[in-house]
């Protein structure tokens, strides 16, 4: 849910990076953090286990610049991908404005991608969203791995609704900022459309 503050002239939106465990959600957000100028970026918070697996969420406040005199600020969250963190994953999804689904391109992770997607769609429905209409961008991560499935297959299996899709290698940053820009655009357009409805 976006929050518009006329007093501070700020528009705040929440974007969630969702997807199966070890898919690269945190790596995406880390790349964004590292590539945001130090003087404007906020602090990145990681609530992780000792082995660097996300336990609850990662959080990065990201100022994007001004739009019609309002400072656009995006709050990026990642969810814990592991199956048994279902309850906390669902909590992070509440009041979301846009989602980046980070799919793992490796063939043997296809089932995990599908399960995570189903999980997300069910939770969105429970929160009153239409999972077919929410601003969402598909990211096929780990394109550099030898066992990466062809994009056409990923698209056919995971993206039959035709959301914008991007290939990425989050470890090198390829495709990460493109994905972020795409979701930020979709969120603002949705808010704009909502405001005129």
């Amino acid at each position: 849910m976006s929050f518009i503050n006329y007093s501070n002239r700020e528009i705040n939106c929440k974007i969630v990076y969702y997807g199966p465990g070890l898919g690269g959600k945190t790596t995406n957000v880390e790349h964004i953090y590292e590539n945001t100028p130090e003087n404007i970026r906020g602090k990145m918070i990681k609530l992780a286990t000792q082995t660097e697996r996300t336990l609850y969420f990662d959080f990065l406040p990201l100022p994007l610049g001004e739009i019609r005199g309002f400072k656009a600020r995006f709050y990026l969250y990642t969810v814990p991908g592991q199956v048994f963190y279902y309850a906390s994953r669902k909590l992070i999804l509440k009041d979301v404005d846009g989602i980046v689904f980070v799919a793992d391109s490796q063939i043997d992770r296809m089932e995990a991608n599908q399960a995570s997607l189903d999980n997300m769609r069910a939770d969105l429905r429970e929160y009153g969203y239409d999972p077919d209409k929410i601003p969402l961008v598909m990211q096929y991560n780990k394109r550099d791995l030898p066992d990466a499935a062809p994009v056409e297959d990923l698209s056919r299996i995971l993206n039959e609704r035709g959301f914008p899709e991007f290939e990425a290698v989050a470890t090198t940053g390829a495709g990460v900022l493109e994905t972020l820009k795409a979701i930020a655009r979709l969120v603002l357009r949705e808010l704009q459309a909502g405001a005129t409805r």
Partner: protein, 157 residues
């Protein structure tokens, strides 16, 4: 689904006033009002010594987790949380089921005093936010005037 909370300057000033009064009456170091989504709405007191953006998201996460626990136990919500530190303590409460009131205090105050003052000012804040939620859905949003070009310009740098 584009639900928006739109807050005008006048309401923001009212929230700031309540925060300021609570901070003074409770002898608190800092008072924050945070959206349940983790966005900072208003603050009063010694805010400079804290990273308020991080604090807001962590408190919202904590409230969300506690809400999950409450549901598991068949409770509607656990409306108050308290953390006791060596020097500083944090009192966290949910106001009108929609915003979070955070009071940080040290030995200059006490839990009893904070609870008493929070209760009183929560009612006031609750009224402001109930009114604001009601009005938000009828308000023209600044986003209605934004063009596709404005959005593209945001990314042209």
């Amino acid at each position: 689904m584009a639900v928006q909370l739109v807050m005008y300057d006048e309401e923001h000033q009212k929230v700031l006033e309540v925060c300021g009064r609570l901070c003074q009456e409770a002898n608190a170091s800092v008072v924050f009002v945070i959206d349940k989504n983790g966005q900072l709405i208003a603050s009063a007191g010694e805010t400079n010594r804290l990273d308020s953006t991080s604090l807001a998201s962590l408190v919202a996460g904590e409230i969300a987790a506690t809400g999950g626990l409450a549901q598991l136990m068949g409770e509607k919500e656990f409306s108050t949380l308290f953390h006791e530190g060596v020097k500083d303590h944090i009192h966290i409460s949910i106001v009108a089921s929609r915003v979070i009131l955070v009071v940080i205090f040290d030995s200059r105050s006490s839990l009893g005093l904070v609870r008493l003052r929070v209760r009183k000012r929560s009612e006031e804040l609750g009224r402001i936010f109930e009114e604001l939620s009601r009005r938000s859905s009828h308000r023209p949003s600044p986003l209605a005037e934004i063009t596709d070009e404005d959005i593209d310009n945001l990314f042209s740098v």
